[in-house]
Symmetry: C2
Subunit: 464 residues, 2 copies
Amino acid sequence: MLRPWRLNIEISRTANKAVYLQIADAVIEAIKSGKLRSGDALPGGRRLAENLKVNRNTVIEALEILIAEGWLISRERKGTFVSEKFRLSEQAKLLPVKPTTAHIYFDDGLPDARLAPMKELSRVYRQLLNRNARWQMLGYNSGLGDEEFREAAAQMLNFNRGMNVSSSQICITRGSQMAMFLSAQCLIEEGDVVFVENPGYKPAWRAFSHAGAELVPVRVDEEGIDVDELEQLLYKTPNIKAVYLTPHHQFPTTVTLSTSRRIKLIELSNQFGFTIIEDDYDNEFQFDQRAFLPVSSFENAHKYIYIGTLSKMVAPVLRMGFLVSDAEFVKKTGSLRKIIDVQGDSIMEQAILQLIKSGEIRRHMKRAIAAYKVKRDFFESLLAYHLRDKVEFKKPDGGLAFWIKPRSGVDLFELNKVLLSKGVQINTPDKFSFKEHIYGIRMGFASLSESQLEEGLISIAKVI
Amino acid sequence: MLRPWRLNIEISRTANKAVYLQIADAVIEAIKSGKLRSGDALPGGRRLAENLKVNRNTVIEALEILIAEGWLISRERKGTFVSEKFRLSEQAKLLPVKPTTAHIYFDDGLPDARLAPMKELSRVYRQLLNRNARWQMLGYNSGLGDEEFREAAAQMLNFNRGMNVSSSQICITRGSQMAMFLSAQCLIEEGDVVFVENPGYKPAWRAFSHAGAELVPVRVDEEGIDVDELEQLLYKTPNIKAVYLTPHHQFPTTVTLSTSRRIKLIELSNQFGFTIIEDDYDNEFQFDQRAFLPVSSFENAHKYIYIGTLSKMVAPVLRMGFLVSDAEFVKKTGSLRKIIDVQGDSIMEQAILQLIKSGEIRRHMKRAIAAYKVKRDFFESLLAYHLRDKVEFKKPDGGLAFWIKPRSGVDLFELNKVLLSKGVQINTPDKFSFKEHIYGIRMGFASLSESQLEEGLISIAKVI
C-alpha cells in the first residue's frame, strides 16, 4: 500500500529559483528530515501537478532531477519511490551522490560553489547548445584556444594585473594543471633542476618530475621563498632550468612574496638564465589592499611562464586555466596541446566569453570577494574564540585559506585521525612538504558554511 | 537616419524551435539575403516585441544571441545595428564566426552537427548547472572518470561490441586523442618501435613519436593492414612494442580488416609480445551487415589497448573518448591523467550519462544511422552520376567517408588548389601518407548538406 503523501510544498513565483527546483529541493528536504522515507511512493505526476497547481511538465522536470540525483527511483508501471538508499536513522546525514567520508572537510581553499553564477551560465549554455548549426562552422583551432577568448584574457591581464601581453602569448588550458604540464614538457629536459618552495604545491611538482626534472626545495618564511638560500643553491647547482613559485598567497602558507624579494628573484633569473614559473592561483581574491603585481609583469622579467586559472572566477566545476609566456614558447605549448587533446572546450570558452562581455563575471567577482571577505573575518573571529591560545595564525590579506599552527605541537596525523572519527577532516603536512614534514595546517574557509566552520573548529578545539 | 524596418517574421507557436530562435534565425536570413544591410538599425526591443506580438524578454534573448554571434552590434544609447562586417555583395556568403576559406569542405568524416540531440543536451545541462550546490559535493576522482559513467561504458562495450570488461579497465578521456596520448606515454619508451598503417591516422602517430617511438609503416590493401608484410618486418625489427591500427573502416581507405587477418594479427601479438592498439573510431556507424567485433574482443587477444570516442554519438563539439586495457595499465593512465589534467569534465560526464540512462542516445543513434545511410547512398549516386568513368571507389559498408581515386592520375595537390579558388576543399595525400604520397582522397559526406555535396562534386567533375 502506498503511504499517504504528506508534503506541503509552498511554491513562490517570485523567488530567484525555478519552480521545478523549488519542488525538487522541497522533496530533498523532506527526505533528509525523515518526512519521506525509503520506499515511500510519490503520487503520480498529474495528481502532484494538480495539488501544487503547477504545470505537469514542471513536476516531471522536478522528478527527473530527483531520479537523476538518486533521491528517487522510478519503477516501470509502478510509479516513483524514495530511493532505498536512505535508512531512517542515517537519513539526515546521507548524500546520494558520492558521499565523502568526512562531513566537514577543511579543503585547501576551494571556492564556494553556491556563489557561482550558475543561472547566467545555464542561460548562455542553453543559447549556445541550441545553436547547433553553429558548431558545424567551428573548425579546429591552433590548440591555443579561441582567438577572441585569448584577446579577452590578454586585456584582462593587461588591465587588472599590469601585464603587457598580446593574445599570441596566451594558451588557454583545461585548468592550471594542464598549463603546468604543458610548460614542464616544453621547457624541461631530463636532469634539469627546478627549484620549488618548501612547503609548496605538489601537483605542480609532479608535472615537473614527470618531465624529467630534479626538484630542489627552497625554504619559505614570512616573506615568501627565501631568495638568499636560493642564491646560495644556484651557485652550487648545475643544469638550472627554472624556479616554480606561488608569490601571491604562497601555497600553503598564504604569505605574500615581498617586493624586495621579487626584484632579487628577477635579478637572479637574469644572472643565471632560469625561467620563473609563477603560479598565480588566486590573484583575484584580494580583500585588504591592492594585490601585488605579478613578478611576470615586472619590466625586467624576461624569462617567465605565468600560470593562472579562470575556474575560480566562474564556477569551480568549470575547469579552465591559462599560461602566458613569450610567443615562441606559447606556440610550442599549442603544438603539444594538439597532440594531447586537440584543443580546448569550445562551448565553455564561448560561454565564459559571453559572461565576460556581458559584465556578469565582473559583477559576480565583486559579490564573491565581498562575501569571502566577510567569511574570512568570521573565520578569524571563530579561531580567536574557540582556539585562543591554542593556535598561531596570521589573518591572510587575500585568498581562501588560513595557515594555522597548533601551539601544542600535537601530531597532525594523529589529530586528523581523531577528527575523522568525528566527521571532520584536515590536510596533513605530507600534502605540502618536500620530505621532512613542515608543521602547519592549511584550512580553506570558503567552501564550508558558517555553521560547518564553527562546528569543525569546535571539534578541533576539543582535541588540542 | 534609421532605415525602415522591413522584416516580416512569422512566429509559429507549435514549431519545434523556441520563439527567440525563430526570431534570431529570421534576422540572420534577412542579413544573408540582403534585406538587412550593414549598418541598418533595428527597432527598439519594446517596439519589436509589440510588432511581433511576443514578450519583450523573448526579443531581448533573440537580440543577445545575434549580438553574441556577431550578426548585430549594440551601441550604447544608440541602439542595435547590423554588424559592419557584412558588405552587400558578399553578404550571402559571409559567416560571422570563423569564416572558413572554403565554402564546401570535404572533411575526413565528421558527423553532422545538425543531427545532434542538442535540445535534450541543453535540457540536461540546464538541470545540472542549476544544481550548483551539487558540485560542491563532487570530489576529485581517480582521473579515470566518474565511476557510474565508466560502468555504463563497460556495459555498452560488453553488450554492443562483444567485449568482456569491467569499469576498472576503462579510462574516460577528453576525446580519443587524449586516449592515444595517455596510452603512448604509459606504454612507450625511447626507441621502441610502433608499426602503423600506411596510409593511416597521423594525429595518433604524433602521440607515439612524442613518446619517443620509432614508427614503421606497413602497407594497407583491400583487406586492411597487410599482416604478411607485418610478419616479415617483425622478424627483422628489434624493440617491437606495438601495432597501431584502425581495423573497422580503416582510416583513410575505409576497408575492413578481414577476420583471417584479425586472427593472424592476434597470433603475431602473442608470438612477438607486442600490444595491439586498436582505434575503433567509428564503430557505431554501420549500415549494411553487422559491424565486425573488435580485435580486442577476441578471447585470445591478451595485450591490447582499445580506443574509441563518444563524441560522435552525441555531438561532435562534446569531446569525449575512452581507452580500455588491463586494469593495471588503465590505473597507470589514470595516474598520468591526474598530472596532465586532474580529471575529466564532470558536467559533461553527468550530462551524457543522463542521456544514456534516459535512452536518448539510443534513439538518437538510430535516427542518425538511418539518416547517414540515406546520405551515403545519395553520395554514391552523385558520384556515379557526376564522376562516372572519372573516379574509382567502393561504397563503404559503414563510416562517414568514401575513399576515392581519380582515374586520370591528376595531381591531387593541384586539384585542391584549383578547387580552392572555387570555394571547394579536399584533403591532400600528405594528410595520410607516411612518406611517399599514397594516391586517393578521403571524402567525408556527413557534415555537408545534400546540395553542398552535389555542388562540390560538380566542381570536381569540371576539373578532372
